[in-house]
Amino acid sequence: MSGDLSPGFADPVTEAQACFRAVLDAMARPGRLHTLGGVTPPPPLGVASAAVLLTLVDHETPLWLDDGLRAAQPWLAFHCGAAVVADPRAAAYAVATDLGELGRFHPGTHEMPETAATLILQVAGFGSGRRLRLSGPGLRAPASFAVAGLPDDFIAQWHANRTQFPCGVDLILCAGDQLAALPRSVTIEEG
Amino acid sequence: MAYVAVKGGERAIDNAHAWLAEERRGDPALPDLTLPQLREQLGRAVDRAMAEGSLYDPDLGALAVKQAQGDLIEAAFLLRAYRTTLPRFAHSRPIDTAAMQVERRISAVFKDLPGGQVLGPTYDYTHRLLDFALAAGGPVPPAPRTDTPVEAMPRVSDILRAEGMMETDAPSEAEPGDLTREPLSFPAERDVRLQALARGDEGFLLGLGYSTQRGYGGSHPFAGEIRMGEVTVEIEPPELGFAIEIGDLVVTECQMVNQFKGSKTVPPQFTRGYGLVFGFSERKAMAMALVDRAMRAEELGEDVTAPAQNVEFVLYHSDNIEATGFVEHLKLPHYVDFQSELQNLRRLRAEVERARDRPAPALVDGDTDTPTTASQAGSLP
């Protein structure tokens, strides 16, 4: 039961709406930071990742968690009713503490690119670390974006993801209560 | 004359609604219609609203018919819009029409069969003469009843199947699709097709079914069986582990028996077209069965040539709530688009005038004025 589980949104309708608007804005403007709150998830699941999951995931969205986040499964099952799957390729939403291979997630098909997975990746922080140069839809001009905690091969992996457009995985980066998104349409270079 | 922009849309809407309510009520000197009256005395109208509204509730159906002044598409729309807000508590088990409390059961393929032919409350052999006695009102004598216990009534399709003459539908444990939750996608499987037909417009299906009989995708149908009556709805809550009854519904089922010449792997046998509709709706169930069979053309290796066989065409156009909305949306303001068409037409006509006034014939045609290069701006890949 829920006795030993920390609470989800106190006001689900209002908080899910606010969180969605943050994610929508993040997805529409790659690299723009948003701050979320209102939940106390079990570590290592971060506040921003948890809020995004409460907002978007339910029994209709197969969810995949990497090994680092297995401990959060009961919390997510209780608050989202999420169906957790073992095969990353079957996931509509995935949460990871480590990027691993982006190619293990479903990239959609050319006729149905919307069936691609959304990966919520927990990173160390924003504003420091790896400097990226973002360009593409949502950006008035190429923008600089710094993320700590991305693997060395991130740009190469993203390049492979970007070149299969309109297929490709969409990425939501979360660090603590902060969030930014990298939709598949964004081009990423060393910044 | 000064121009004053049209204002006051809000008040116009309120006034229109007030007028509508008054007109719906009609002459206040006459008694107001009650929902039980509608449910009992305009049952076929309520049935149609429930069938196309995809919501089985005769009282709400009666309310919808009353609220819509008997406009059955409008009534179905009211039920749909209500239905969409309802929570889903459980999924029912498949209903068993073989165990139906039959009120009517006829077969056009066997003279007699277990359970017999039961004519039931049908208009079939009424002479269509206006009944002025009905206009006068008055008591209706009770219909004769029999005390003979009702025999079991196996379905004709099962009787034929027992002999190997009828195709067998492979049982499936797969979760059936649901058009009210997921948009149509193609190829559309039969579960989704049948759902669309069951919700579909009676008139549209009637026309399509009729077209198959006239050669547009015919499949030599026989009305194997039509039955109407009450069936039990059961759910099986996981915590109980067994099924419980939650209510009854009246349905009409039609099993069309169609010829099939067989294929390399399947010997010649009969195939089925299936119709199932809420309430008493024989016309709709029969039309549905014809169209269901027609849409199986590709699966059965038949040529797909007729409208009724074109799954995409049938499914995208059978829903009368969608159709009525889009047809009727043409009455919404289109000033802006019409204005751009006007300006466009004026421009095109001016071009023609100019060309006519020029000394040499220079009216553009494909040879003299062809686009050569796609510009950077609008380049098509």
Partner: protein
Amino acid sequence: MMGYNFAYLDEQTKRMIRRALLKAVAIPGHQVPFGSREMPLPYGWGTGGIQVTASVLGQQDVLKVIDQGADDTTNAVSIRRFFARTAGVRTTTHTAAATVIQTRHRIPETKLRDDQIIVYQVPQPEPLFRLEPSRVETRRMHGLADYGLMHVKLYEDIARYGQISISYDYPVMVNGRYLMSPSPIPSFDNPKMDRMPALQLFGAGREKRIYAIPPWTEVRSLDFEDHPFRPINAPHPCGLCGATDSYLDEVVTDDHGGRLFVCSDTDHCAERRAAGHVGTDGVKEAAE
């Protein structure tokens, strides 16, 4: 409103639509199928736009609803009331004061900002439908970016009329990849879509499709180098405010050819008049 959730839709439905919206933003111009619900308004009257608006709207938002550029057309009034009743949000007629703008057939003349969202009502999301009615086929064409059919249509227009004859719902290429219907806005409005700072969302309820254009995204009206895209507008200033750069409605003033051309965007026109701009018919009005 009693008995209904905030903004009418249940949370499960909102989640489904929100997921579709995010995918739509990630794939600019691609039509994402969604489980469109039956709304209490008829299909073809803005059910797609309403579902999108209901899924993005929050208590902090200020909503503007226009139809044909006007806030007071009956369908705009009806939709604005729907949200005022079901969500209790503040509404406005001022473009600049709105955070969410739902529209049918127009883009406001006032430039939209980066903190605004515009939601278009879309009757027919498939830009190829007049050329190929089968959605199975058109989906294949979008998958392959095979837009030869549209190319041929435009080419034939030029061969026949000397120009492209489309005056509204003029097809656009989004981010160089997807052919998209801009909804039945006049081609006059098409250039506003290109690199618009606001997020543009499109909802087609009956056809069960959602699509989007992120801010600053390239949106190009199809044309040819020697037949460039030309937006269409009446060659007149607004009779009321004198604007020469706004899209005009044509009003029939009598039965012997009398016409008055006025801004279709009623908010734009009213603001200009409030700022002292007067058109030729406005002067007459003041003089009487």
